[in-house]
């Protein structure tokens, strides 16, 4: 179907977060009666684009035309009024309210100024039925529903708004195959009714089934728009990764083959449907990467190893001995010697208003104190060593850590954990949002640590990093290890293909 004028047109949209460019002169045309798929790897700018469209994020530049008229949304409510409904990943449901309350949340039916519960219930039941969620009781509180049902409620809520543009951002990620089939039937009907549908998913099979038009994003720009089915999967992967490649990494030396047991070994690890039968091992001197798209269980795996989760099944062996890691405190003990460099340094890594000194010694206070009193000399000595080793640029160690640049803050987080002299180092996307120079220092440090005998498990959303730093990469998909890439197999093409759970070089149309 072709229409003269696009329903929504975005031109030259740019958005920066601090020093990171999320969108750079991006554009998109959305037409009624079409399913428009948006593709791109982690950080390509898909989510930011959607947030601009839904009024969650205000762009720094560019314009948006709705039926030819320029619009700007100051808040989500404005986008909703304009007929744009967005299905987020369980982000917008109110946990303590009932399903029916949630479905009609922005404009509940009213009688005499009060919410009409009977009419509300009818509307909610209709919307649930349209979305294929008849099994969900409208009076159930949302917080008691499993993830897949919540996602169905989210879809019903969007449908109840009677939108003209419906955005599905990884809306099927938590759904079962049967639910996806139901949702697709609904989407096809909505398409026939003339709605514009934007579909973001990493499941290439789904895109092949439902999309009419595809747009690929890379580095914050739309790089190609094509009619669905006109490109092979290999071509799509090529578009997603582009051709730039930087060799900014230290050489990866293969670890000496070691006869002893691995420093960390995991067998059949399972947790709450988020981790499925994960088995792998990391030897001393080895850097093992965790790859895959964001949110496939990598973070949960690191947290599970670090003793944060409860109800874990499977076995964790440290130096060949089965070990129960009950808490982060146990994980960092001398017996286990584990450290986790967290993803969000502001909430999980640092006490921002406190000094560099205090932050550096937090994790290692046990080692630096005698009879419960901190040995100031030992502390100063250890801190000086770390500041030197990581080349942390700071006006002395007594300034608040919050006054340092992002890259130096991240170095403090890493140094803080090196102070406990860990033998096993887990890193959760440690270079996100920091400058290239610091990144390279961190890569070099990782190699040095590995050479001095540490076992390193390294999650990164940046494929170049995995290629440049790791001896092996485990690619996760939906909470399970789908593929293990070793040495020269670690290429961007292989990483992207296995992250999308398609066989490398597959020639099926997408």
């Amino acid at each position: 179907m072709e229409f003269a004028q696009p329903l929504l047109r975005m031109e030259g949209i740019s958005k920066r977060y601090g020093g990171v460019r999320a969108l750079e002169q991006a554009g998109l045309e959305v037409r009624g009666g079409q399913v428009h798929a948006i593709l791109g790897e982690n950080g390509a700018g898909k989510s930011t684009l959607i947030k601009v469209m839904a009024g969650v994020v205000a762009p720094d530049g560019g314009r948006m035309l709705l039926e030819g008229r320029e619009v700007a949304f100051a808040e989500p409510a404005a986008a909703i009024r304009a007929g744009i409904a967005c299905i987020f990943q369980e982000l917008s449901l109110i946990p303590d309210l009932s399903v029916a309350d949630n479905v009609v949340i922005d404009s509940p039916p009213r009688r005499f100024g009060m919410i009409d519960h009977r009419a509300q219930r009818r509307l909610a039941e209709e919307a649930l039925a349209r979305a294929g969620g008849e099994d969900i009781h409208p009076l159930a509180p949302v917080k008691d529903l499993p993830l897949s049902r919540r996602q169905m409620v989210e879809i019903a809520k969007a449908l109840a708004r009677k939108p003209r543009i419906l955005i599905l951002d990884e809306a099927t990620s938590a759904l079962t195959a049967a639910d996806v089939a139901k949702i697709f039937a609904v989407l096809k009907r909505l398409r026939a009714e003339g709605l514009a549908l934007l579909y973001i998913s990493h499941r290439m099979q789904e895109i092949a089934e439902i999309a009419d038009v595809c747009t690929v994003f890379r580095n914050g720009r739309n790089v190609a728009t094509y009619e669905a089915g006109t490109k092979t999967l290999a071509e799509v992967v090529e578009l997603m990764i582009g051709r730039e490649y930087s060799h900014a990494f230290p050489t990866v030396a293969a670890p000496e083959s070691d006869a002893g047991p691995p420093a960390l070994e995991v067998r059949d690890l399972r947790w709450a449907e988020r981790l499925r039968d994960i088995s792998f091992s990391v030897r001393a001197g080895e850097v093992v990467g965790l790859g895959g798209l964001d949110g496939q269980g990598q973070r949960e795996l690191l947290l599970a190893l670090f003793g944060v989760t409860k109800g874990l099944s499977g076995e964790i062996r440290i130096d060949g001995k089965p070990t129960n890691i009950a808490s982060p405190r146990a994980a960092k003990s001398k017996r286990i010697g584990m450290a986790l460099i967290p993803e969000d340094r502001k909430t999980e890594g640092l006490m921002l208003p406190m000094s560099v000194r205090v932050n550096l010694s937090f994790a290692a206070l046990d080692r630096l104190s005698r009879w419960g009193v901190v040995d100031r000399d030992a502390e100063t000595e250890a801190i000086d060593e770390m500041v030197r080793l990581l080349a942390i640029r700071t006006d002395g160690v007594d300034v608040p850590v919050g006054s340092l640049s992002g890259g130096n803050q991240q170095k403090v987080v890493i140094a803080k954990w090196l102070m406990v002299r860990p033998r096993i180092i887990l890193l959760n996307d440690p270079t996100r949002g920091i400058d290239i120079g610091t990144k390279q220092e961190i890569y070099a440090l990782l190699r040095r640590l590995a050479e001095s005998g540490a076992a390193i498990l390294f999650y990164s959303t940046d494929y170049d990093e995995l290629i440049g730093c790791c001896n092996r990469v485990l690619v996760l998909y939906d909470g399970a290890i789908k593929r293990t890439l070793v040495g020269a197999e670690i290429t961007e093409r292989a990483l992207v293909a296995s992250a999308l759970n398609i066989a490398a070089g597959a020639e099926a149309g997408a």
């Binding site: 808040e75 303590d96 309210l97 309350d101 922005d106 100024g113 947290l303 409860k310």
Partner: protein
């Protein structure tokens, strides 16, 4: 049809508070030397209603996941104001009552504006504003006292009995629930209040009027605290700028909402539960009297009961599987 199961679950906190109150009150009445008489009930109701109104005020704010530490001070201030302007002929005195309630609304609205536009944490904002309200109370009544022509007819009527049995204060509580709480609960603003308390981010993403919800929560809290203050004037015929009493009412109102099943994390509970929480909390204090225990034990005893009640609410934390969720 399992509708009733969900409806019951939603009202669990309120029903538990009701059961707790009935059990405690039955014990109290059975041990009371005068027995279960209209007089005993009237006295208990008047005392309980004061805390119940302030607890309802606290409920509005707590539902938004905030806290109102000025509730007791609005209560004190409006009591002092009432002791002046509920005076003269009955029509003038009624106008005075309206003035007291308007003052309460204004205090609440001020809290709301500070929290919304000042972007201050509710705890800080209301400590500061509470101090202002107490200052106003002290300015009105440097010494406890009353107006020469205080209208005791209205006061006696509002603290008396209907048909010789039902305490008027209970009727007033019931009327307020019917006229304000239930319409609020069923309004879109009321729903937005619950949504903001449950998950402010999700409420924002759903395009709900967050500011309007918070504003009305604080404003209605001011109104309810002033109904309590007015009632104190009715009971005592006078006004007193008593700092300790204001502080006690603030803290007891928090205890009462917790007993009444209102979650301090916001988004869960009902003002009706808070009423029963307040009545139960009052009854705990009175029990010591009928059991001839030293009144000195009252805070200890109330504290133990409160702690036990709160512990049952914390039981759900055992279900958490990711320990990071504990800190959210």
């Amino acid at each position: 049809m399992s509708d009733w199961r969900f409806r019951l679950a939603e009202r669990r906190g309120t029903l538990i508070a009701l059961a707790l109150f009935l059990a405690l009150f039955a014990l109290y009445a059975s041990k009371h030397p005068a027995g279960f008489t209209a007089n005993v009930v009237q006295t208990a109701a008047n005392k309980g209603a004061l805390l119940a109104f302030v607890a309802m005020a606290q409920t509005f704010v707590v539902l938004t996941a905030g806290i109102d530490l000025s509730a007791g001070m609005i209560f004190t201030f409006t009591n002092c104001l009432g002791s002046y302007i509920v005076a003269g002929s009955t029509p003038t005195a009624l106008l005075g009552c309206a003035g007291v309630l308007a003052a309460g609304l204004a205090c609440g609205a001020l809290n709301g504006l500070i929290v919304i536009y000042g972007r201050l944490q509710p705890i800080v904002a209301t400590v500061a504003s509470g101090s202002i309200f107490y200052g106003l109370a002290l300015w009105l009544r440097p010494q406890p006292g009353n107006s020469d022509n205080f209208n005791s007819d209205i006061a006696d009527f509002m603290t008396g009995r209907v048909f010789g049995v039902v305490p008027m204060s209970l009727v007033a509580l019931f009327a307020v629930v019917l006229a304000i709480w239930i319409p609020f609960r069923r309004s879109t603003t009321g729903r937005a209040v619950y949504a903001v308390g449950s998950s402010e981010m999700a409420a924002y993403m759903s395009g709900l009027p967050i500011r309007r919800a918070k504003f009305w929560a604080y404003t209605l809290a001011g109104l309810f605290a002033s109904i309590g203050g007015l009632y104190l004037s009715f009971i005592t015929y006078s006004g007193e700028a008593n700092f300790a009493n204001g502080g006690t009412y603030t803290l007891f109102s928090i205890a009462a909402v917790v007993l009444g099943g209102v979650s301090l994390f916001g988004g869960v509970g009902s003002a009706i539960g808070a009423i029963f929480g307040a009545l139960a909390f009052r009854t705990i204090g009175d029990l010591l009297f009928v059991f001839d225990l030293d009144p000195l034990y009252q805070p200890l005893f109330q504290g133990v009961v409160l702690l036990l009640a709160v512990c049952t609410g914390a039981a759900q934390l055992f279900r958490i599987r990711n320990r990071l969720d504990l800190f959210q």
